[in-house]
């Protein structure tokens, strides 16, 4: 079954008086439980593609069907996103006034979970990601790798079927980056999640189920 279907999707941005086409007539289909990586140079629309899949931004033309639904449904779409899409930003965007655990619990609260239900799950995830000791720390006191793991914990707390990761390894050293990649791969295989990871790191090409190159507005399979 297809988890993500994009058909002839284009996205234009207006920079001042100039219209800039970032993605043009892109089509892709990602099956459930697949792990795919999307590669390409910076500024070629990889992040834009992920945001269209998540419903954060709307394509200028074309259609997106995510888990059989239209992700752009105004306020309903926002709640739908909290439950169905786990998004790992390149800049983790953790809330600075909340501890690592609170950042994760708040995401659970957004999806409507009661704390007593979501707390044991959050603790399990912290164990799984090896950041249990940091659960009470504020983001500013965590290392880059720890912050990214907290961001992953936040992305998976609601057990979303789709995980979107935007350059999650960009700010990490080689070993930490590999560890994180293996973790996402493992979650796809063991927990049955559909993972779309955007990266410019060629080492991860073809390590998942499929890899694509997005360059010059065109998406090609490696």
């Amino acid at each position: 079954m297809s988890a993500i279907t994009l058909s002839n999707v284009s996205k234009e941005y207006t920079d001042g008086l100039v219209n800039r086409t970032v993605i043009k007539n892109l089509s892709i289909e990602v099956s459930s439980n697949q792990f795919i990586t999307i590669h390409g140079p910076s500024g070629n629309g990889k992040s834009t593609l992920l945001k269209m899949i998540s419903g954060l931004i709307q394509p200028t033309s074309g259609t997106c069907v995510i888990l059989g639904a239209n992700p752009y449904k105004g306020q309903k779409g926002v709640k739908w996103r909290a439950k169905n899409i786990g998004y790992i930003f390149q800049n983790h965007y953790l809330l600075p006034e909340l501890t690592a655990l609170e950042n994760v619990l708040y995401m659970g609260a957004l999806a409507g979970w009661k704390k007593k239900i979501i707390l044991p799950r959050a603790k399990q995830i912290f164990d799984y990601l090896s950041i249990s000791k940091q659960h009470n720390s504020l983001p500013e006191t965590l290392s880059g790798g720890e912050r990214q793991r907290v961001a992953i914990a936040r992305a998976i707390i609601n057990d979303p079927p789709i995980l979107l990761a935007d350059e999650p390894t960009a700010s990490l050293d080689r070993d930490r980056a590999d560890e994180l990649f293996d973790l996402l791969l493992e979650m796809s295989k063991k927990q049955g999640k559909t993972v779309v990871m955007v990266t410019h790191d060629e080492r991860y090409r073809n390590k998942g189920d499929a890899s694509y190159l997005l360059s010059g507005q065109i998406l090609e399979k490696y």
Binding site: L56, K79, L98
Partner: protein, 368 residues
């Protein structure tokens, strides 16, 4: 609420300053409310607290109680009219009260015991009874002015006998003077011979199923020429000087509520701008405008309620220590009404924040 508490803890100085400002405005608002209440009651408390809902006076007095004189018998005539349930005469004259330490001007009212001319807010002791001689019911400010208590005695300029205090009412001041109530018979005995059988006004209770205005209209049609009827509140507000004394603090009070609304809006708008990036991230994660609004609302609620409680406490404790001459009164209903209006004024601009949050972008990478 949790994020709001964390935000306040993270910026304690900023939150403290906001809290201080809200407290000061809250204290000012309650003080002005208390002043408005006190000045109003100081001018017309004795009229507001009569038991009837209408007052009949001499038309030529033009609402000025001091100038009104009516034949005593009119009360009896009104009593039997179908447009009235009850009617009772009430006399008013200024007098001077003497104690061993003090002497001061006092408003002296005379009423017939067991009628609606009696004051409605007896706090201690008893009202006058038929046949009472040299007994008086006084208002609270009378006791404070002369440093007397229930059972104590004093003299008035009209007679040499001592008068005993048998009952105490709430604040029933009239024209900013303390008030005492004696029997109408005694009051009449103090009047000059040529006007001994005249009273100042007739207190009337119209049919209880009608509103005050309806009762007033019903009575206007049957009233004899030369008589004027108004509602109790109409007469109370028509006392010379009441409007001026009442409206100035009222105006300042309502202006303060406006200032509360504007200050809350400015403060929380600035906060919102500061936290814009946080809200964009939350929106990207799946928080809708109402989730974000809850965060803003809970922070405003905490600071406004906290500031209001502190400010109101300062004002309330302060007014207890003020001398009675300052005319600041804060009955619980005034405190509650002021609190409710304060919260409403503070939250009046919140819908604008909802619009702002709705239009906030949800792509952090392009906006942060």
């Amino acid at each position: 609420m949790y994020i709001a508490i964390r935000e306040i803890k993270k910026h304690p100085f900023r939150s403290f300053l906001i809290l201080c400002l809200i407290s000061l405005i809250a204290a000012l608002v309650l003080l002005l409310s208390g002043l408005s209440e006190g000045l109003s009651k100081g001018m017309n408390g004795a009229i507001i607290n009569v038991r009837g809902n209408l007052i009949v006076m001499d038309e030529e007095a033009e609402g000025n109680i001091s100038r009104s004189l009516l034949p005593f018998e009119i009360a009896e005539g009104l009593h039997y009219m179908p447009a009235t349930d009850e009617a009772a005469p009430l006399g008013h004259r200024p007098t001077v009260v003497y104690t061993s330490d003090h002497q001061a001007n006092v408003a002296l009212f005379g009423y017939t015991p067991d009628t609606i001319g009696a004051p409605s807010d007896l706090n201690r002791g008893r009202l006058l009874k038929e046949g009472d001689q040299n007994k008086a019911v006084v208002d609270r400010s009378f006791l404070e002015t002369f440093d007397l208590d229930l059972g104590d005695s004093f003299r008035i300029q009209e007679q040499s006998s001592l008068i005993e205090i048998v009952g105490v009412t709430g604040d029933n001041r009239f024209s900013m003077q303390p008030t005492m109530f004696m029997s109408l018979d005694e009051w009449q005995s103090f009047q000059p011979d040529d006007i001994k059988d005249l009273v100042t006004m007739i207190v009337v209770q119209g049919p209880r199923e009608l509103t005050d205005e309806q009762a007033k209209e019903g009575m206007e049609h049957i009233l004899l020429d030369g008589l004027h009827v108004d509602t109790r509140m109409g007469v109370a507000m028509g006392i010379p000087g009441v409007s001026e004394m009442y409206l100035v603090p009222e105006l300042l009070k309502w202006m303060s509520y406006g200032v509360v609304g504007v200050i809350c809006f400015v403060f929380f708008y600035i906060q919102l701008i500061h936290r814009r990036s946080q809200f964009i991230v939350l929106k990207a994660l799946g928080a809708d405008q109402y989730d974000l609004f809850k965060i803003v609302l809970s922070q405003i609620l905490l600071l406004v309620l906290g500031g209001m409680i502190v400010g109101f406490s300062i004002s309330y404790v302060g007014h207890l220590m003020m001398p009675p001459s300052l005319s600041v009164q804060m009955p619980m209903e005034t405190v509650l009404a002021s609190g409710l209006l304060f919260v409403l004024a503070s939250f009046s601009t919140l819908p604008l924040f909802l619009i702002y949050l709705k239009n906030l972008p949800s792509d952090p990478d392009r906006t942060l």
